[in-house]
């Protein structure tokens, strides 16, 4: 793995002078996810032309515009459907989806479970900031019970999704969770997720102090990162904790590792079988 994790690498992948300054708030975690993604792609040695970034709509969706790959900013919640079409049409491409928690779990929840079920060869990155950032701080399916938001002014009454369990149940090949505080670990996870065949999902906890922090006792970006540092705990250590000590802690690490063929590979085999028996299609 490369020893350079600084600007030297990242600058090779940015669209210079085109879309800067960027739209993110200072201190937003989304930029760290993008930086990690770039380093992961660099470490894997993937040619820029082979990478397709498909993004949804939200602050997270805006990231695609800054990087010099094939980039597609789609519709809210539907990034995975576009990605499925791209991957099935051209399996040579590395298809990576960037989605917000509202994007992936709410409006796009159905597409998420079906992409996982199909095990189509996509790396799905969910940038979970526990809130709808771009639309101004309404609650999302990842807003914790009791947390305040523009649409839960008296505290969220609905339980949030456990993305990892959801993706595991739906059949994803690889499921992991990281945070933008634990960057090195996140990078290792991301490399693994991009490298593998099939549907690979990484949920990254990324703070939105502007919308989430403001309403929930985190006065500054720094306080949000401190919270991440404290709350996140390695999955192995979390499992050993007694039930009463788990409150407020979030396990991170790799939760599911399977080695199943992607749908596109199964499809190619089907076509191959027809060619062997030389049955014409027309």
């Amino acid at each position: 793995m490369s020893e350079f994790t600084g600007n030297e690498i990242i600058h090779q992948y940015l669209r210079h002078n085109k879309r800067f300054p960027h739209v993110l708030c200072a201190g937003c975690g989304h930029g760290i996810v993008l930086g990690t993604l770039i380093r992961s792609i660099h470490d894997l040695g993937l040619p820029k032309d082979d990478v397709v970034i498909v993004a949804g709509i939200g602050c997270s969706g805006r990231l695609a515009v800054y990087v010099d790959f094939n980039t597609i900013h789609t519709t809210h919640g539907r990034a995975l459907t576009f990605a499925t079409g791209i991957k099935m049409a051209n399996p040579q491409l590395k298809v990576i989806c960037l989605m917000g928690d509202g994007d992936a779990l709410s409006i796009g929840g159905n597409h998420l479970i079906h992409a996982a079920r199909r095990n189509v060869g996509i790396t799905a990155l969910i940038l979970n900031n526990n809130i709808y950032g771009m639309t101004g701080g309404q609650s999302s399916p990842a807003t914790p019970l009791g947390a305040k938001s523009m649409t839960s002014p008296f505290g969220q009454l609905e339980k949030s999704f456990d993305t990892v369990e959801l993706a595991r149940g739906a059949g994803a090949n690889f499921v992991a969770r990281g945070t933008v505080f634990h960057v090195k670990k996140l990078e290792n996870i991301m490399i693994e997720a991009i490298r593998r065949p099939g549907f690979n999902l990484v949920e990254t906890l990324t703070p939105c102090h502007t919308q989430f922090g403001r309403k929930n006792k985190y006065k500054s970006p720094v306080e949000m990162y401190k919270w991440l540092k404290k709350a996140a705990i390695d999955k192995e250590r979390y499992d050993e904790l007694p039930e009463d000590k788990r409150e407020g802690r979030i396990p991170i690490g790799v939760f599911v590792e399977r080695e199943r063929d992607g749908l596109e590979e199964r499809y190619a085999k089907l076509r191959e079988s027809f060619r062997k028996t030389s049955q014409g299609g027309r």
Partner: protein, 381 residues
């Protein structure tokens, strides 16, 4: 010269003919969700596509996903199609708008059923004509075609693909249940008898390429993903490089170009068939299966000495104004029979501006419009 081989003839449903047309046009990707009365298109695609060298068939989780996958596959360089019916068509609208904005070629077949809502799932209707035109949000042009018999289902599907590729736009093919579920003998044309157009790909070095720049034809070339032309595509209003913009001049520039690239090719896009319209006193303007009833009615009227004619619309939008205008200038009466409350007759009235008498026949009871019904109105003059 060697004797020409006879056309292959098959006995096919309208829906089946759509598949034949799509495959002749080079379609290699289908994504859809089942719904009556369009399902046969999907079922036959499922059986046929895996036999092609690079064919892909996908049954998606819903119509929104189907359109998303279709757009993605088109961006990856495929000719793609999806088919649906009323409720599914409504779900597709956001992505149809996206395909317009991102200039992504694809074909959407909508076999109309009665509505609104889940309506009359198996009865013929033509209720989605204005939805096809105005279903998605914002200002944009769209190409909407129709077919009135099984042979035309094949031909208009090829035309739909060609227009989609030529103009980098989604094209909607509207069928009604009667056309889709009629079984007729059709001829499969020889390969040199129909045009197959594929999108123009850029041949300049990638650094020179501007993905959304005006060209002589108004339509920018489109490379497949992964071919070395890295650019940004978005549903947001964008500049010529594809980057989001809200600069008024750039917003207007894009919106106008999207309209212009369709507007300037009216002659190529607006397709009609005219039967005895020259010097006709009474002209029926019809489309879909209703045009067949109309043709029979016009023939009978002619036999009883009435100077009747038929203007059959194969393109519904951009509305064939030029042809309608010609008819309206000479005919005393124009009859517009439809299986809806008057979705094309309002276009006719718009063009008419009070010149001829416009009579409408509207059926919304899930029954076809019969020749005798049309003949009766023709007889009234």
């Amino acid at each position: 010269m060697a004797r020409r081989k006879k056309h292959k003839e098959i006995f096919a449903l309208g829906n089946e003919a759509v598949v034949e047309g799509a495959l002749l046009a080079g379609c290699s990707f289908y994504a859809g969700y089942p719904i009556t009365p369009s399902s046969e298109i999907m079922e036959i695609m499922a059986a046929r596509l895996p036999h092609l060298e690079d064919g892909v068939f996908m049954q998606m989780e819903d119509e929104i996903a189907s359109m998303g996958a279709a757009i993605g596959a088109s961006m990856a360089g495929r000719k793609v199609m999806t088919a649906t019916s009323g409720p599914g068509f409504s779900l597709m609208q956001e992505h149809i708008g996206y395909a317009v904005m991102a200039e992504t070629p694809l074909v959407v077949v909508n076999v109309m059923r009665g509505g609104p809502s889940t309506g009359l799932p198996t009865s013929p209707a033509q209720g989605d004509v204005q939805q096809a035109r105005w279903g998605t949000h914002g200002d944009h042009p769209i190409i909407v075609l129709s077919a009135s018999n099984v042979q035309e289902c094949l031909e208009m599907t090829i035309t739909a693909f060609n227009m989609a590729e030529k103009y980098r736009t989604p094209v909607i093919l509207l069928l009604d249940e009667v056309t889709a579920h009629t079984r007729e003998k059709i001829e499969i044309p020889h390969a040199d008898e129909y045009e197959v157009f594929s999108r123009i790909v850029p041949n300049m070095p990638p650094e020179w390429y501007k993905p959304f720049e005006e060209t002589v034809r108004g339509v920018p070339p489109m490379p497949p993903l992964g071919a070395g032309y890295r650019f940004h595509t978005t549903g947001l209003t964008h500049d010529r490089n594809g980057f989001p913009t809200s600069r008024p001049d750039e917003v207007v520039d894009l919106t106008e170009r999207l309209h212009r690239k369709i507007d300037q090719f009216f002659y190529d896009i607006q397709l009609v068939d005219e039967v005895d319209t020259d010097g006709a006193d009474i002209v029926v303007i019809a489309y879909g299966s209703v045009a067949r009833s109309a043709e029979y009615a016009v023939q009978q009227a002619r036999e009883s000495g009435i100077k009747a004619g038929l203007l059959k619309l194969k393109t519904l939008f951009p509305y064939p104004r030029r042809h309608t205008d010609k008819v309206l200038a000479h005919a005393k009466t124009v009859v517009v029979p439809e299986m809806n409350m008057g979705q094309i007759s309002r276009e006719v009235k718009r063009v008419n501006m009070g010149r001829a008498t416009v009579r409408t026949i509207n059926r919304v009871d899930g029954q076809i419009v019969t020749p005798s019904e049309i003949l009766k109105v023709i007889m009234q003059g």
